[in-house]
């Protein structure tokens, strides 16, 4: 239904107009001494009263960690993080690309498959979305992001099929432009959205166990100590094409986006992830804690976490 904006919307807009100039003035005041320093070429100590405590991050920040674990001899997980934050008259939004791939297959096929996948995704997505943005192309926003992600995953799939015929990999990727996340995934590497004290699994595993849960044959509790090996019904490297799930999510202020391989979520409960991420405001520290906990629980698998924290 087309509904008019709420009656108080006008006053909201006005409030914002009023507050903005104040912020800008504060920022300008903070920058002033630095300009002086450059102007006369003399280094002076910063006056005490210009120190402004930083309440939050104005731009997105991220942490990333991957570990072989305690049992395996090689790390078949691959992780890729790219975050560009800009402040200029161009008013570019923050741009991020984050990828986790969990490779499978003997004889290093798994690590090759996940490596090829991150490489392939990164080059296609940055080339198609990010380069036009920094080039200042008028039509940088024209191409549907979900189609770019879909194409990138299909290319990665072809690359795996061609180069590592015996290998396979999951892939979970998020493009973040401003505060909108564009997500693509295949397999059981997950994305969680952590916001306002709650954790939500944004992706749906393409695994037999998940399917049995959805069909009511298994309860989530039964699934955790499930005797079946973890069987995926979708992965890269299995067929000429692959069915890719794509979706879009708006990220609230202060929200965290966590990408991780099953080495994390198999060992660390959602509630524990929420707890650690909330207690450690610096994303890298949170990643370190998450992986340490997975290893403490036995570290039976490779484990990877990428944590993005939105400004607010």
């Amino acid at each position: 239904m087309i509904t008019p904006p709420p009656a108080n919307s006008h006053s909201d807009a006005e409030t914002e107009k009023l507050t903005k100039p104040l912020d800008e003035a504060a920022v300008a005041a903070a920058a002033e001494p630095a300009i002086d320093t450059v102007a006369d070429g003399v280094t002076r100590p910063l006056p005490q009263d210009t120190f402004i405590p930083v309440a939050g991050n104005e731009h997105a920040v991220f942490g990333q960690l991957t570990d072989v674990g305690k049992v395996r001899t090689n790390n078949q997980d691959a992780a890729f993080s790219f975050l560009a934050t800009t402040r200029s008259a161009d008013e570019w939004p923050d741009f991020g690309l984050f990828v986790v791939a969990d490779g499978m297959g003997g004889h290093q096929d798994g690590e090759k498959a996940s490596a090829i996948t991150t490489r392939s995704l990164a080059s296609h997505i940055l080339g198609t979305l990010y380069v036009p943005m920094v080039r200042g192309d008028e039509d940088a926003n024209q191409i549907p992001v979900n189609e770019v992600l879909e194409t990138a995953v299909q290319k990665a799939n072809s690359d795996v099929v061609a180069n590592v015929p015996e290998g396979g990999t999951t892939v979970t990727a998020a493009v973040v432009i401003g505060d909108l996340a564009y997500i693509a995934h295949v397999g059981d590497s997950r994305i969680y959205l952590i916001s306002k004290g709650a954790i939500e699994q944004v992706t749906r595993d393409h695994s037999l166990v998940q399917r049995l849960i959805e069909l009511g044959q298994l309860t989530p509790e039964e699934a955790t100590d499930h005797k079946q090996p973890n069987v995926l019904y979708r992965a890269l490297g299995q067929n000429d094409t692959v069915d890719v799930d794509t979706l879009t999510r708006r990220l609230p202020p202060h929200a965290r986006l966590l990408l991780c391989s099953d080495g994390l979520w198999n060992q660390v409960a959602d509630s524990e992830i929420l707890d650690i991420v909330t207690k450690h405001p610096i994303p890298q520290e949170a990643c370190n804690k998450l992986i340490a906990l997975a290893n403490m629980r036995g570290g039976i698998d490779n484990v990877t976490a990428i944590l993005l924290k939105l400004p607010g």
């Binding site: 499978m104 297959g105 926003n141 432009i177 399917r211 973890n230 069987v231 995926l232």
Partner: protein, 642 residues
């Protein structure tokens, strides 16, 4: 043999290294001729039985090796193998290969069986495009027969556990033979790592360890489904057979055979056939039907099943009748508005009409100098109704009396519907401009030149005015009229943008046939969805789903996050009307002259009403009425509650 299951982390796998070479004589009796096949757990050899010196007696020898390194575990596996081999050796059925011998040697177990000259169904499928449905039916009956034989073994039924195309051989006589009994399963354990590719044919309860004869029925259903549709279940999400209806892939498959397969594939054990004998009986009924008789599938759909406020009416479709109608002197193309006890509607007869909501009686009318295509918009604060006319003018009338408050002239026809927000009016004109005027007196604030007629209705948020033009451009302007971003579709945009304020996404259709989802902050395109005709109908979002019509005749329901289609409702002619949602129902008009009420969740029709002309405008809800106008000159008021 095609193999889709990849086991990982099995570095100790050295099967290939230790395969028996040709001419090797096993157990002093079986001369290896070659390899017939092999999987993860063992190899099947073709061999000659040297006990028969005068004839060339061929046998198949299945070799199984355990990957268990623990001696005790290995010993127990071999013991299980011996026990199962003993059971198999006592079986006697034409579709079960005979067991001649079994022994173990160097921690490997060997089973000597009848050699079957033929090919398995998987191989047969890879060599053919389709198999005759009558053949499939015949094999299905024989498979039921052999499974029934196994299930009736005493003291315990034998469950085959692994019914799939590659385990069914078609021998040189064209008869089915079941190979690869579950015996090998004993050896498949301890694999713990992530695997890719499901077994595809197994019943859901098998994954919990509940294996019953009815699990074989499910797997037989899955095998038949694969044969009939040629869609390999190992490449699809598990247990998703019902998402691939057989007629979609095999239009000639007999309805009764389809019904049997579907019942075999019931997710719940209790809904399947109780026994293979019962399933066989159902299939045999099919075989004995004389050729040339066409059976329609059973009609099970019922319109009375669901609950809703239209229940009484829906029971007798077509009985929803207008409470009143109001006839103007020409086509009505605009969406009616309501205020207090009045409905307002503009007509191509140049008039704006105000009628009583209760009765449809005339209150006032106001004549412009051109037809009215723009929909009237009401502002309670200023007591105005605002609309455009083909006479190039935007009118603001006092809605109580129909007297002019102010007017504003553009340089071409005003066909776009205005938007009132932040005490201003925003609207587009065919002169190519978007205008912002003060609502109280029509004072000009700014215009933005889009260089092409603007007929879509602007959407105004707290920060932006978003509107599309005939050039295909969608533009976002600041409230002061400065350009923030733009997005170009390939053809004209007549559909009005809709902004989901919570998610910050703009949805807008284009006559290029796509529905677009754009980030309201910067115009980045999240997704686009292709329909088969221009989109003129404006979208609406409701609980995570997007609804809109297309000139391809369909009303679409898409998941807003993924752009996947949830359902679509087909009509005979283009849909240009924008839908409106009330409770669990969606209303819209078609150019096929019908006014439709559709169930929001299922996309199924609740009722429809035929007007005398195409419906191009959107319905309006007012209290217990829903109003819609048609090109037959008439404004209809239907009761909203039955």
């Amino acid at each position: 043999m095609p193999e889709t299951t990849h086991f990982t982390g099995m570095e100790g796998d050295n099967t290939s290294d230790s395969a028996l070479k040709a001419n090797f004589v096993l157990h002093n009796r079986y001369k290896i001729m070659g390899v017939l096949g092999g999987g993860g757990m063992g190899t099947v050899y073709q061999a000659r039985d040297l006990n028969f010196t005068d004839v060339r007696k061929l046998v198949a020898i299945k070799e199984m090796q355990t990957i268990a390194t623990d001696a005790a575990l290995r010993a127990s596996m071999l013991k299980t193998f011996r026990r199962e081999a003993n059971i198999l050796a006592t079986l006697n059925h034409p579709a079960i290969p005979k067991i001649f011998d079994f022994f173990d040697l160097n921690d490997r177990a060997y089973l000597v069986m009848e050699y079957i000259n033929g090919s398995d169904l998987e191989l047969l499928m890879s060599k053919t495009k389709e198999l005759p449905n009558e053949k499939i039916l015949e094999w299905a009956i024989d498979l039921c027969d052999v499974l029934d034989y196994l299930h009736n073994q005493k003291p315990d039924p034998i469950v085959f556990r692994d019914m799939k195309p590659s385990n069914v051989m078609i021998d040189s006589l064209g008869k089915v033979r079941l190979i690869d009994f579950g015996i090998a399963k004993t050896f498949v354990s301890g694999v713990k790592h992530t695997m890719i590719g499901t077994e595809g044919y197994s019943a859901p309860e098998q994954y919990k360890g509940d294996v019953t004869p009815q699990s074989d029925i499910y797997s037989l259903g899955a095998t038949l489904h694969h044969l009939l549709t040629r869609k390999d279940p190992r490449l699809e999400p598990p247990f998703s057979f019902h998402e691939r209806p057989i007629p979609n892939f095999n239009p000639n498959a007999p309805a009764e055979l389809i019904a049997v397969v579907e019942r075999a594939l019931a997710f719940n054990v209790t809904e399947r056939f109780k026994t293979c004998a019962e399933m066989k009986e159902a299939l045999e009924r099919q075989r004995y039907r004389s050729a040339g008789v066409v059976y329609a599938p059973a009609e099970t759909a019922s319109v009375n099943g669901s609950t809703g406020f239209f229940e009484e009416d829906a029971a007798q479709i077509g009985t929803v009748q207008p409470k009143w109608t109001f006839k103007t002197e020409d086509e009505i193309r605009c969406t009616p508005a309501t205020v207090r006890d009045m409905a307002l509607v503009g007509s191509y007869d140049t008039n704006m009409w105000a009628v009583k909501l209760e009765s449809g009686d005339l209150v006032w009318k106001f004549a412009t100098r051109g037809g009215i295509a723009s929909s009237p918009v009401v502002d309670e604060n200023s007591k105005l109704v605002i609309f455009g006319s083909e006479d190039y003018t935007l009118y603001a009338l006092d809605f109580r009396s129909g007297r002019i408050s102010w007017t504003f002239n553009t340089k071409d026809r005003v066909r776009g519907t205005p938007r009132i927000a932040h005490e201003h009016v925003f609207f587009g004109s065919d002169d190519g401009k978007v205008y912002a005027l003060g609502i109280a007196n029509g004072r000009y604030l700014w215009n933005y030149d889009m260089n092409a007629p603007v007929r879509s209705r602007p959407f105004v948020t707290n920060e932006l005015v978003i509107v599309g033009a005939e050039s295909g451009e969608i533009i976002a302007l600041g409230l002061s009229g400065a350009r923030k971003w733009s997005y170009r579709t390939k053809r004209g945009v007549i559909s009005s943008p809709y902004v989901d304020m919570n998610e910050g996404i703009v949805y807008v259709g284009s006559t290029d046939g796509f529905m677009y989802a754009l980030d309201v902050a910067n115009g980045y395109n999240s997704w686009r969805f292709r329909t088969q005709g221009p989109i003129i109908s404006s979208p609406i979002e409701h609980k995570g789903y997007i609804y809109f019509g297309s000139a391809d005749g369909n009303l679409y329901c898409l998941n807003a996050q993924t752009s996947r289609e949830r359902w679509k409702f087909a009509t005979e002619k283009p849909i240009v009307s924008s839908p409106i949602i009330h409770r669990n129902f969606i209303f819209f008009g078609g150019t096929d002259e019908y006014f439709y009420c559709i169930d929001l969740d299922t996309g199924k029709e609740r009722w429809k009403f035929k007007t005398g002309g195409a419906i191009t405008s959107s319905p309006t809800i007012a209290g217990d009425l829903i109003l819609v106008s048609s090109m037959d000159h008439i404004l209809y008021a239907f009761p909203l509650v039955s």
